[in-house]
Amino acid sequence: MTTILDPTDERVPVERQITARTGDISGIVGLLDIHKPRGNILLDELELLLATRYPKVELRRYTKPTFAKPCPSDLRLQIRSECDYLVEALAD
């Protein structure tokens, strides 16, 4: 028998569950532009579609300072406290 030491961070992976789908959208929907080129164009179109289909839903726009870094925690907390849903747009 040989013993070796675990080279990883030893985290036990947690299986994440998808939030239950309600079949409807209400409240505040955040639209997050990660700052990739043309992300704003994608979100403009999506905002238009959502506003037409769900006129009672409030839409709010957010932008990450750079797509190359994780979302700053302040912005993450702001979105979490302000929104019921979030759409994050990749682009190029």
Partner: protein, 528 residues
């Protein structure tokens, strides 16, 4: 040197478990069968047992199972011979030489350890025992024994055994999860299957090897070196050491790996983005200062290639930590389209002694006597820049500029992106042929020879990259004729010297997104 005697429970030759302390005075003697002096004292210990065995426990602790049997048979021992073949009690008691003998009271406390054989010491010990027990003398003819015989090194101090015992001890610096692999399993295949590897074989990180690796630093094994992206997992010195073992590092490389990890796990370096980009970026480590010589790093012939252990394994250790602790794996957060062999390893020292300029670390504010690692996020390289014909300094400098012009795409200029230029010694020689040639002049020359009109950057039928046609249509002729160099600032051109003294081949590494939105090169002092 000996540590205090501590409790134990071992079995004797009859399978009986014997626990210490015994509640009676006791003589505990550690012997090794293949030690001549141990064989000299074994009959004396048997005589002690015959004389005082009713009042005290006279025990031998033997250091191998087979050896214990031989000792018993050879000397007709009737005293208990306990099995310490695991050597844990020998290790815990901490003596260095066998025979090692302790005379202890009922609570297990007592005088100093007697190591080896000095007749007067053993006689004094016998007198002490008979006095303490208020018993008669033992039946030993001291005059027939030699004055002095040296003992042997205790078996628990064999380097391999000692490291294992240290790793298993209660106060061991090892805290990582232990993975036991059955002897019927192939260890190397097991590590591949567990996903620990970058695709190349690994050195198994046994506790003994990790302990030896930890001896390379003064830092505590559980100190956090950095929080490693992308999983933002804390990397202890121990985790760094485990991955350094797997990469093939020697213990003296560990401080460099630690400093490199600190450098890349900063917000400025942005290891998360460097990992995630589809462009495929990786740290390139440049080592400066006295540690280059101490570790025998290769800064000359083949400096950017294989064969030197320190060059190869320091970079690999960093990559394995990012991968195994940080969780950066291709297909996961690592989204590189093609990736780069630099993700296996890329580390080299600057040949400061072959350079006419201040070394990189001095340029960046460190003392020449400091040892420093500098990490650059690079996407390509080393890309060769070949010029065997130029004989004028400005010609060579011009060639280096034209060589850098291909970075990303030759038509794109005014780039806010770093490049790391590695100038070979023969090109340095030509640069200096008419006198001093400063780094500043070299940077200026690179910018000068790469100036092109903006109209060359406009999208066209050959390449749609560059200035969009719609934007170009809004520009005046004068604007389109404006000359712009390859780099938006000469500060993006980093210069070091390395390589063989034969050959007119310099090289360049091309950067990633440079700046606060991407990555900024970071230097860290190596604490040796």
């Amino acid at each position: 040197m000996s540590a205090a005697p501590s409790g134990f429970s071992l079995t004797d030759q009859n399978g009986q478990t014997r626990a210490f302390p015994t509640g009676r005075p006791s003589l505990i003697a550690f012997l090794k069968e293949d030690c001549n002096t141990c064989n000299l004292v074994a009959p004396i210990l048997e005589a002690f047992h015959q004389a005082w065995g009713e009042q005290a426990d006279i025990w031998v602790l033997g250091q191998s199972k087979d050896g214990n049997q031989i000792l018993q048979d050879r000397h007709g021992l009737t005293l208990p011979v306990l099995d310490d073949s695991a050597l844990k009690t020998s290790f815990a008691w901490g003596f260095e030489i066998v025979p090692a003998v302790y005379w202890l009271d009922a609570e297990g406390q007592g005088g100093p350890c007697v190591e080896g054989f000095v007749r007067t010491e053993w006689q004094a010990l016998a007198q002490q025992i008979s006095a303490d027990l208020k018993a008669s003398d033992c039946d030993v003819v001291w005059a027939d024994l030699p004055d002095w015989r040296p003992g042997c090194g205790s078996k628990h101090l064999d380097p391999e055994i000692h490291d294992r015992l240290l790793a298993e001890a209660d106060n061991s610096p090892i805290r990582a999860r232990r993975i036991e692999i059955a002897s019927s399993d192939d260890l190397d295949e097991f590590m591949f299957d567990q996903g620990f590897s970058d695709g190349l074989p690994l050195v198994p990180p046994t506790p003994e090897r990790v302990l030896r690796m930890l001896s390379g630093t003064q830092r505590g094994s559980q100190e956090i070196v950095a929080v490693v992206p992308p999983n933002m997992a804390p990397a202890t010195v121990e985790k760094v050491a485990i991955n350094a073992v797997m990469a093939g590092c020697r213990p003296e490389y560990l401080p460099v790996v630690i400093a490199a990890l600190e450098a890349v796990c900063t917000d400025e370096f942005n290891m998360h983005g460097v990992t995630a980009t589809t462009m495929g970026a990786s740290p390139v480590l440049v080592i400066n200062g006295p540690i280059r010589q101490k570790l025998g790093m290769n800064m000359k012939l083949g400096a950017l290639g294989p064969d030197n252990r320190a060059n190869a394994t320091i970079g690999r250790a960093l990559r394995l930590i990012i991968r195994n602790v940080g969780g950066a794996k291709p297909g996961g957060v690592d989204r590189s389209t093609l990736s780069t062999p630099m993700k296996f390893t890329m580390c080299f020292p600057e040949w400061e002694e072959g350079s006419p300029w201040e070394p990189l670390h001095v340029e960046r504010g460190f003392a020449a006597s400091d040892s420093v690692v500098t990490a650059f996020a690079m996407t390509s390289g080393p890309v060769q820049i070949v010029d065997q014909e130029s004989r004028q300094p400005d010609q060579i400098a011009g060639t280096l500029g034209l060589g850098l012009e291909g970075m990303f795409l030759a038509k794109i200029h005014r780039m806010p992106v770093d490049a790391l230029l590695v100038v070979c010694p023969e090109h340095v020689k030509t640069l200096l042929s008419d006198g001093p040639y400063s780094k500043a002049r070299l940077r200026d020359r690179i910018q000068e020879v790469t100036r092109r009109p903006l109209r060359d950057m406009v999208a066209n039928e050959i390449s749609g990259a560059g200035i969009p046609l719609a934007s170009a249509a809004k520009m005046t002729e004068a604007q389109l004729d404006m000359l712009v160099p390859k780099f938006s600032s000469d500060q993006h051109i980093h210069i070091v010297v390395a390589g063989s003294e034969a050959g007119k081949f310099s090289a360049a590494f091309h950067g990633w997104v440079t700046g606060p939105a991407g990555s900024v090169s970071v230097s860290r002092k190596i604490e040796c």
